[in-house]
């Protein structure tokens, strides 16, 4: 575990860069972390991040299928918004732990 100063705040992250305390998350932190990944966050990104946070903090296991049927984005858009590994990347930017689901 390490500390990281980002967007003027000190946050706790693990060695893969995932935040370990979801309550430290702010929109500004997400924007800064996204910049490090080469992404500029739009309202659509934030809508997804907030959906992910809400589900994860309610204790639900997130799957890519659930996000596709969330009504916020379809899967194609989700892959475009968060290129590469979308579920992992979006979880990282949403300040929640690395996803553990296989689907």
């Amino acid at each position: 575990m390490a500390e990281k100063v980002i967007a003027g705040r000190t946050i706790q992250v693990n060695d893969e860069g995932y935040m370990t305390n979801p309550s430290e998350w702010t929109r500004e932190i997400a924007a800064e972390m996204a910049k490090e990944e080469g992404i500029t966050l739009t309202d659509k990104h934030y809508a997804v991040l907030e959906y992910i946070r809400e589900k994860a903090l309610a204790g639900e296991t997130l799957t890519i299928r659930k996000i596709g049927s969330s009504g916020i984005v379809d899967l194609k858009e989700f892959y475009q918004l968060f290129p590469g590994g979308p579920l992992k990347l979006a979880s990282k930017l949403a300040g929640i732990p690395k996803p553990t689901s296989c689907v």
Binding site: T63, I64, L75, Y79, P86, K88, V103
Partner: protein, 167 residues
């Protein structure tokens, strides 16, 4: 001392040659998992695996209730082979398995293929097997990009960090 270099996985080609529920899902889960990790993914169906992309058959795949020693009754007792031969038993067991998978958010075959292609994965059918089973492009679900030969398949398999997985 020699240094050990690690090459991250860049591309996977997954071959599914079987048409039973568990083998098709093994291929689908691995393919979708690769797409989710940002790995270039190509999924190739051949022989009885073609059932998984044939419109008429893809959403009613079965698991074998005869000759399947790992099959158990709910509760864990071995599933008697003689019970498995009765009409309707295999369909019932298969429907139950699909229901259990749905609870874990594992989608039906058609939706799984849509998820894989939405993330940029590609689905192919084997030409030789399609010819043998007399199947045409229009018999396959629209996620199937093309019907290709084994030569074309290997042409796609080049590059450092490529793996081929056979199910």
């Amino acid at each position: 001392m020699a240094t050990k270099e690690e090459y991250p996985l860049k591309k996977v080609l997954i071959i599914c040659a079987k048409g039973n529920l568990e083998d098709v899902y093994a291929a689908l889960v691995m393919a979708n998992g690769a797409v989710m990790e940002g790995i270039e993914t190509k999924l190739f169906f051949t022989f009885f695996g073609l059932d998984a992309i044939t419109k008429k058959r893809m959403n009613c795949l079965h698991t074998a209730t005869v000759g399947n020693p790992a099959l158990r009754m709910p509760g864990g007792l071995p599933f008697p082979t003689l019970l498995g031969i009765l009409p309707g038993v295999e369909a019932g067991v298969s429907a139950m398995m699909r229901k259990e998978m749905d609870k874990l958010d594992i989608p039906p075959v058609k939706e799984f293929l849509e998820m894989i292609t939405a993330g940029g994965g590609e689905i192919y059918a084997c030409k030789l097997a399609a010819d043998m089973f007399k199947l045409k492009k229009e018999d396959f679900t629209e996620e199937v990009l093309d019907i290709i030969t084994v030569g074309q398949f290997y042409e796609m398999a080049g590059g450092i960090g490529t793996q081929i997985i056979f199910v």
